[in-house]
């Protein structure tokens, strides 16, 4: 391909390549031609060649051999070559390349060029990729340009100065604070210089808000929203931790908040920034309530972007302005049903933060409903949030247990591991509810054994309080006749099901063993189950079964004691104290007790 082919032709050829390999071939040939051209220092199509190289670079191919060409083009006297050269510098050079230092001198010369467009090229490049050394060298030039009368150059020099100050904060003092433009962009440097200028900023802002229609700055009816947002941001920085400044801007913020039309995004952007500013400065409470109300209005907006950002903002202030945010709880809870996954996530976070003792029952209803329909990636977060809320604000133990059971049934696969021992502890502590709990868990177990955490808790409970289950009477729940065979059937189903994990099987086996002391008729059945599992493939299960077998055979007199209520162990707290009390030195017994403790309190 001829090296003088223009940029557009090359792009057309590359796009015409049908496979990746063909494209690579074309590009390799082109790059070779370009490299040859660079070496020749041919002054004809230099800018074309660099432009071609930049296109190739954007496709992801290496282009480092063009760096020196960029340096050469920048030093050229032709504007077209300078323009491409600077673009190349911004794309190919960064502060880590050595070649970037070589352009410092060219930039310096161009900063004093007669044409403002050349100056602007140099300023733009410096602001984009200027390294610390380059900035240090050229800072005096920038300072000089800041004082220039040409507003086009002044504005660019100001942004360049911002870049310099970000790179080398110590040079901040060099740039005089008289220029508003700098402060509009840099964050913390000029606070004490400019706090006296808050009234001036307020005035500018007022003019913007109340001024007439200016077509070139207008966006959807808002005059220059970009500038408005900038000024608000600056006011936010100035008003932070500064009472005097905050007072001076109070009226303005109220005016902007009430008068800005938020039907289009531009107006909403300005309102949003106003709200952020009000929240950050030392504003009076009336203004804060106004801000929260604006956020509440945003929640009802049709545009989901606005709903999303309003929830992000509410999340930030929910700790400090809790009561104000509570007023919008209804709307927030409605957003749990939104179609958008990001909005749902935000609504979940916010709802969990808004749960309190007063609204726990209604909130929990909504949260449980959400749990059954929420996307899978949010389930575990929702489940753990619900557990925390239930733990902190449960109005009664029965409600607490019901809630946890509901979560286990709906999302048992997504809960954390310590849920099972926590729930067991909770059940043990609620002694008057043992009957109710065991009945409920039994019913859950016979309907479905997929959710492993539920299965484990149910097995433990049945093993522990099986006698209450068999007695059949329970005030708080409709009575159901349960025979010993039914219970053993249920537990054996868990043992044999391929859906049960080894841990669940362990729970089921121990439960069966415990029932041997609580039932009267089917002890033989239990004995046979236990002996079958003595040859189980699973080592844990086999070990347990062998030990329980031993209990039946050799230590039958101990069986009642070891398998009786766990509360005994709870009361005594630890194995060693227990041994002291009962004077037990039997190693096998210790081993069995170990297992019991392991099951009851997991790691």
């Amino acid at each position: 391909m001829s090296p003088s082919v223009c940029l557009q032709e090359m792009i057309r050829v590359i796009r015409g390549a049908r496979t990746q390999g063909e494209e690579r071939g074309v590009i390799q040939r082109e790059c070779a031609a370009i490299r040859a051209q660079f070496r020749q220092a041919d002054s004809g199509g230099r800018s074309h060649n660099l432009a071609k190289l930049l296109y190739v670079h954007m496709l992801g191919y290496p282009a480092h051999f063009g760096q020196m060409e960029c340096v050469r083009l920048i030093a050229s006297s032709k504007y077209s070559e300078k323009r491409i050269g600077y673009l190349g510098a911004m794309m190919l050079l960064d502060e880590k390349q050595d070649a970037s230092l070589l352009i410092t001198n060219s930039i310096k010369n161009d900063l004093s060029h007669s044409s403002q467009h050349v100056q602007s090229l140099a300023l733009c490049t410096l602001a984009c990729m200027g390294s610390a050394e380059m900035c240090r060298d050229l800072a005096p030039e920038i300072e000089r340009l800041l004082k220039a009368s040409n507003s086009y150059i002044k504005k660019k020099a100001a942004l360049c100065a911002v870049h310099i100050v970000r790179k080398i904060p110590e040079l901040g003092e060099m740039f005089t604070p008289s220029s508003f433009l700098i402060v509009l962009n840099s964050d913390t440097l000029y606070l004490h210089y400019l706090s006296h200028s808050v009234p001036e900023l307020v005035q500018i802002m007022k003019n913007l808000v109340t001024s007439g229609y200016s077509p070139e700055h207008n966006v959807a009816g808002i005059s220059d929203p970009f500038l408005q947002v900038r000024i608000l941001r600056l006011l936010r920085i100035l008003g932070r931790n500064n009472d005097a400044a905050s007072d001076a801007m109070n009226d303005l913020l109220a005016q902007v908040a009430t008068n800005t039309d938020s039907s289009k995004t531009a107006g909403s952007a300005v309102l949003y920034e106003t709200v952020l500013t009000i929240m950050d400065i030392r504003s009076e409470s009336g203004l804060r309530v106004l801000a929260v109300n604006i956020l509440g209005r945003f929640l009802l907006n049709n545009d989901r972007n606005i709903r999303y950002i309003s929830m992000t903002s509410l999340q930030k202030i929910v700790q400090t302005d809790h009561t104000a945010v509570q007023r919008h709880r209804g709307t927030i809870v409605d957003c749990l049903k939104d179609q958008d996954a990001s909005v749902k996530r935000r609504a979940l976070e916010l709802s969990l933060a808004l749960v309190s003792a007063a609204n726990i029952r209604s909130m929990m209803k909504e949260l449980l409903l959400f749990l059954s329909t929420c996307p899978p990636e949010l389930r575990s977060h929702a489940a753990s949030g619900i557990f925390n809320a239930a733990e902190r604000y449960a109005p009664s133990q029965r409600w607490h247990i019901d809630t946890i059971l509901h979560v286990l049934v709906t999302a048992g696969g997504d809960v954390r591991d310590e849920t099972v021992p926590n729930l067991i502890q909770l059940i043990t502590a609620a002694s008057e509810l043992h009957c109710y709990t065991v009945h409920k868990l039994y019913r859950a177990l016979i309907s479905d054994i997929v959710q492993q955490s539920l299965v484990q808790v149910a097995c433990w409970c049945i093993g522990e309080y099986g006698d209450l289950l068999l007695k059949g009477e329970c005030e708080e729940i409709t009575p159901m006749q349960v025979t010993e065979d039914d219970v053993l059937d249920a537990l054996e189903t868990v043992l044999q099901s391929h859906m049960s994990t080894p841990t669940s099987r362990g729970f089921a086996l121990t439960a069966i063993m415990k029932l041997s002391t609580r039932i009267t008729n089917n002890v033989d059945r239990i004995r046979s189950v236990v002996s079958i599992y003595g040859s189980c493939i699973d080592v844990e299960l086999q070990q347990r079964a062998v030990e329980y077998n031993a209990l039946f055979k050799k230590y039958d007199h101990m069986r009642y004691f070891t398998m009786s209520y766990c509360t005994v162990i709870l009361e005594f707290g630890c194995r060693s104290r227990l041994s002291l009390y009962f004077n037990i030195h039997d190693l096998l017994l210790m081993h069995i007790l170990d297992n019991l403790l392991l099951f009851s309190y997991s790691q």
Partner: protein, 154 residues
Amino acid sequence: MMRFLLLFSRQGKLRLQKWFLPMTEREKKKIIRDMTTMVLARKPRTCNFLHWRDLKIVYKRYASLYFCCGLEDQDNELLALEVLHRYVELLDKYFGSVCELDIIFNFEKAYFILDEFLMGGEIQETSKQSIAKSIEASDMLQETMEEYMSKPAF
């Protein structure tokens, strides 16, 4: 400030990349990969904001091109949507009913327009007419006729 601005097609091909903070080539490539995967995976009627590492990502789809920018924590996302829209308006005014092919074949001009609108990650100029005037003046300075290829007359 804006950290970066990317334009890519629906097939994930990059059409423009502007970095406002120095980064290594590896980091740039990683960001481009992450952005294209994340944004292209979004369903049609979801919100335009994402969270990625410590940045807020704002994206908007115009015809076959995705405009994607990365903002810092303090920045206003709604305003970023307006910034992207303003850039599209500027391109539209310059090229006359701009389409993706214009940006592919005249990518350097797209960069020049961007450099008049944003600098150092901040907005430089809020008046559409001022920007159009400076671009026109710069174009006039280009000496050779070859550079005027396919540029519409002002």
